[in-house]
Amino acid sequence: MATQSPPYFEHDADIGVIGRGATVEQAFEAAAQAVFAIMTPVDAVQPRATVSIEFEEADSELALVTWLNLLLGKARELDMVFSRFHLQRHGDKWNGEVSGERWNDSLERGVEVKGATLTMLSVKQTGGSWDARCVVDV
């Protein structure tokens, strides 16, 4: 699992998130971490419950958007915030396990991320690392 600080890039109205890792899965995990860090300091979120995320997508860019949007949708459905992300790719199939806890008064409130967009969307391998990025709507 990626542990580096989640980086961001500029967008006028919203926020660009970047995930980097040795594999495409790690880059996606880091991007998810960056998304949830906008909503609350994720270090404070305890992994009290685990949720499975599964989807099928051949296009790696659309897979990033789908991954982030499934996480955001699941988080709101369950009134949770996630802090630990694990993703595996088997061909076009992506299987994730994410952990976190329900929102509670001990968690500092940041800004809600409502969706990942196709804006500035890219998933690239450069040298030995993967870079996954897009603008998220807040």
């Binding site: 967008h11 409130r109 804006t119 709507d137």
Partner: protein
């Protein structure tokens, strides 16, 4: 934005000349030189891309508050003709489908109500679920969600949230036709179960404002506005459901683009012919999202009234108007002297029907539609009125528009300091997120006065009243 690449047609109207070999419709930009000069170049790139989409009627346009969006610029207006192969674009509607402002006029004056503003702020903050991680008081089952998606604000009124009289002053009289709840995914509906009657986060707010200046006495009279009066503005949209629709359909349309014969410069502009099955499917889902937003603002209106009644027992809050600024709607417009049915995308732009339009409530028929332009929590907002001769498919600015990014704002301001500074100015902020306050700092927005002036000078709408913020519950 470098203005040298534009041609100034009128003091507040500019065009983007085509490059040799460039095939696209006209691009028109409304605004003053300072406003356009402060815009990101991405605005120009995005609106030029929109002008290249099939079936565009007239020109692709930006409003004076435009800024960089997703595919379409925020503050973008584009109308497409289904008979000419015109398209529907999820990015042209936006992710927060039917985000908009419900404006309520009160029978209270700032002078008399001022001593209780602190108690009002606390009561509203307690009553209005706002910010990330806050659920609403309502928990709807799947059948109830489908009813919301079909009936819009009517559902809320039938459940006891608000008054039947509100419905006349909501666009589409509170219920968007053509909604197809079956076109909305289960995940989108699950996201919404606990989110009805919530404000959300980001730039959403519930604000108590005082009418500080009247510009147009006749329109102000029709709108029931007078100086010193307290106004309530509720800015929010279709919450998680709308976003889920937007993101799912954007991916679906991006995948279908080549099969549908749509060529776009990048995938964020993904769209489908209006008459295609994919286009019709999205329109049905989008209309469901519009009804979700209308119901949400209706519930929040009820919650605001309840909170006011606790502090001011004789308070009466009437709906002045409810107008959305992230939509695509089928409307009749005259193009080159001929009436045409067009699908008008307004992404961060407000509908602004002029006097005499048959869809206006009788009370406003002589003066035009109320256009609510939300500014920042530290500066103010405007109510304008639609013009009969609006040149932009009856559209106008929706707000001040961002001047700085969220990260630039975070680097420059601290939430706590802003809250204290605004309190010294007599503006009470209630929030669960100091980060959110910093990102929404008044200095992060364009000068709302310049935007309102440019909107009027460009002939898009005319200023009626300026509203000064007094209490703001920030999402």
């Amino acid at each position: 934005m470098n203005l040298s690449q534009l041609r100034q047609l009128q003091p507040y109207l500019w065009s983007l000349p085509r490059q040799p070999g460039e095939e696209r419709a006209d691009v028109l930009l409304y605004g003053s030189a300072p406003l356009l000069g402060s815009m990101d170049d991405k605005v120009l790139e995005q609106i030029a891309n929109v002008a290249g989409l099939p079936g565009l009627a007239g020109a692709a346009m930006t409003m004076p508050d435009a800024h960089w969006g997703y595919g379409f610029p925020i503050g973008g207006v584009a109308a497409f003709d289904a008979e000419q192969g015109g398209v529907i674009s999820a990015g042209g509607v936006g992710f927060d489908i039917s985000c908009g402002i419900r404006c309520l006029r009160s029978n209270l004056d700032v002078g008399n109500a001022l001593p209780e503003f602190g108690r009002l702020a606390d009561t509203l903050f307690h009553a209005i679920p706002a910010g990330v991680g806050e659920e609403g008081h309502l928990k709807l089952n799947p059948a109830q969600i489908d009813q919301v998606l079909r009936e819009g604000a009517h559902w809320a009124v039938n459940q006891g949230y608000g008054l039947a009289a509100d419905l006349e002053y909501i666009e589409e009289h509170g219920r968007m036709s053509g909604s197809v709840p079956d076109n909305v995914s289960e995940l989108a509906k699950k996201r919404q179960r606990g989110e009805m009657g919530t404000l959300g986060s980001g730039n959403h707010y519930l604000e108590i404002q005082g009418v500080e200046k009247i510009y147009d006495v006749a329109a102000a009279s029709a709108f029931g506005l007078r100086e010193g009066q307290i106004i309530v503005s509720i800015h929010c949209g279709s919450r998680g459901l709308g976003h889920q629709i937007g993101t799912e359909y954007l991916v679906m349309l991006a995948k279908a683009a080549s099969r549908l014969g749509i060529r776009v410069p990048n995938r964020e502009l993904a769209c489908a012919p209006i008459q295609s099955p994919e286009g019709q499917q999205y329109i049905g889902a989008m209309n469901a999202g519009i009804n979700c937003a209308l119901a949400n603002r209706q519930i929040l209106t009820h919650l605001a009234r309840t909170a006011f009644a606790q502090v001011y027992p004789k308070a009466n809050l009437e709906t002045l108007f409810d107008v959305s600024h992230n939509t695509c709607k089928a409307e009749m417009h005259e193009v080159d002297g001929k009436p045409r049915l067009l699908h008008v995308h307004r992404k961060g732009a407000t509908r602004a029907f002029g006097p005499g339009h048959p869809m206006l409530p009788e009370r406003y028929r002589d003066v035009g539609q109320p256009v609510v332009m939300g500014g920042s929590m530290g500066t103010g907002s405007y109510i304008l009125a639609g013009n009969r001769a609006n040149p932009a498919f009856s559209s106008a600015s929706h707000g001040a528009g961002r001047a700085l990014s969220r990260h630039q704002s975070l680097a420059r301001w601290h939430g706590r300091q802003l809250v204290d500074e605004l309190a010294r100015q007599g503006i009470l902020i209630r929030t669960r997120s100091m980060r959110g306050v910093a990102e929404e700092a008044p200095g992060a927005y364009k000068d709302v006065d310049l935007v309102a002036e440019a909107t009027e000078q460009a002939g898009l709408a005319r200023r009626v009243a300026f509203l000064r913020p007094k209490v703001c519950v920030k999402g």
